[in-house]
Symmetry: C2
Subunit: 322 residues, 2 copies
């Protein structure tokens, strides 16, 4: 690998995976490596060795290239904690918050997370993100319309709903829908029918159950999920729901409630342009959920970490401006 067009070694190092790319000046991938070495699964917790294994081969031919990493690697449980930058933030503020660490083979810059402080006047609660800010910067860099005013939704373990105004991230909320689903499935009475059930539901039955969850979440309206969640069990007992499809129904209830909750606040304002960022299967579920709340034609954007890292690297002077 002696490609002289290489400009940046970029890493997205999250909770469950480590992805590294060798990028040219347009962010095109010259080489890449993915390992299941998220910060919770890094062998022996030895971040330096994991980094050297992944980046070392590129260093032999590219000793001077800057290296930049985003994600949970910069959290308290990661390699070194990078202090949060306070929202509202733009790409420049993120770039100003980089810290550089010594890896044993080179120097690596880490992207800070973003903290939204609580605000007594708006009632906003504190919120944090680490990794998502880089994707948001990446989307803004390539989609001027979304960068002006939008709500960017990043579904996942801890879904983020990020408000974008004039190329800045001005605020966000977290919905821990993915974690709630996993915890209820594994550890609550709601997961028991599915845990004890040997057969899988057909795809059609799963989708139907997911839709029922969405519809029930929508129909509950302002009463919310509190009185609905137990229906994952009671509908099985009442023979309305098969054990095999019960988790799809739970998923529909939870995602439906997330979308209901997050869009309630929007109704009071003019409806913002909305886009989903993330992997296809999950974005499909959210697209379907959004359709239950009359949000149609929602754009889906796949992972934008690379363009975010490129943009931040430019703002930080690690690579030349376009």
């Amino acid at each position: 690998m002696t490609d002289t067009s290489a400009r940046l070694i970029a890493l997205d190092w999250g909770t469950s995976t480590l992805r590294a790319w060798l990028l040219d000046e347009r962010g095109q991938i010259l080489d890449q490596r993915h390992e299941p070495w998220g910060i919770l699964q890094t062998p022996e917790g030895d971040f330096a060795r994991a980094y050297q294994t992944v980046v070392g081969p590129w260093r032999e031919t590219h000793p001077e290239l800057p290296a930049l990493a985003c994600g949970m690697i910069g959290s308290r449980g990661g390699w070194q904690e990078v202090p949060y930058v306070a929202a509202p933030v733009d790409a420049g503020a993120i770039a100003n918050g980089l810290i550089e660490i010594e890896t044993g083979i080179d120097r690596l810059s880490l992207v800070p997370g973003v903290m939204q402080h609580s605000d007594a006047t708006t009632g906003a609660l504190p919120n944090v993100m680490r990794g998502e800010e880089t994707q948001l910067i990446g989307v803004m860099a390539h989609q001027p319309e979304l960068a002006q005013a939008s709500l960017l939704v990043m579904p996942g373990t801890h879904s983020k709903w990020a408000r974008i105004e004039h190329e800045r991230l001005t605020g966000f909320t977290t919905h821990m829908t993915g974690e709630l689903y996993a915890v209820l499935r594994e550890h609550s009475i709601l997961g028991r029918p599915a845990r004890e059930c040997q057969e899988d539901a057909s795809q059609a039955a799963s989708l139907a159950a997911f839709d029922e969850g969405l519809a029930n979440a929508r129909d509950a309206g302002s009463a919310g999920l509190s009185g609905q969640l137990f229906s994952v069990r009671s509908r099985v007992l009442a023979d309305e729901l098969s054990p095999a499809a019960s988790l799809a129904y739970l998923s529909g209830l939870l995602i439906g409630e997330e979308v209901r909750s997050a869009t309630v606040a929007l109704e009071a304002q003019s409806r913002l342009k909305l886009a989903l960022i993330g992997d296809d299967a999950l974005c499909q579920r959210y697209t379907r959920a959004l359709s239950y709340f009359d949000y149609a034609d929602v754009q889906t954007i796949s992972d934008a970490s690379i363009s975010g890292l490129m943009t931040i690297a430019r703002h930080a002077g690690l690579i030349e401006p376009v």
Copy 2:
């Protein structure tokens, strides 16, 4: 024990405890025995032997006394499944649903649970209870005003909000607040600060954090809990909340959301008379939560299983009418 005034052997046999009483014709306790032999903890799962151990001594002197048990002992995971009776129900309908089993030393009647079927016109979801119906019957028997029209709240692992009209249980919802709290505390990221924290919060700090949870749940209004739950973590990260008090805050959020959700539906109607049934500490928390939603002077009623079992026994002809 040769008290000739004894009229009924009554048992409340639930998930975690077995309570048995020897009662006179007014429901006064002549003798009692409590064991930690809930249906999940019965030694070797041998319900007959547990029953014989508890009731056997009374049988020697009272061979003819009827015996009646309510609770999860009549569930699929209990001694024998007693089919649900469909709501709306009154004491007579419950009594008609009793089934009698052979215990090895006598015959024991088991109280059925109640199922509410789904209703497409009202949007009601199916719901089940088993044990709570007996307490509701007990409260109705002694509080004519509540028996006419009320909402009886039974906080717990699976809280029940039961609608009472004209001495009948006409419908109910389940809020699995207690289980949600336990699962999130033990298995989610929200419980981690408290799990890793060595010290306990002071009582004042816990109460203050609980109140903050209630206030945030109330202030979220129709947006509900979905975007608030993560604040148990983010407020710790933002130094707004101590790890030691974080579970009290979580409890406030969850109970606050239960009360918000359950009372939203009431606002549309004239406000029903509301009463709490359960143990003092938990009812105190709910009383405080209700005060955040402008429900003041809520009556608290301690466990009403005994009067419920007496009332059902009378309706079933197991003991003489008053």
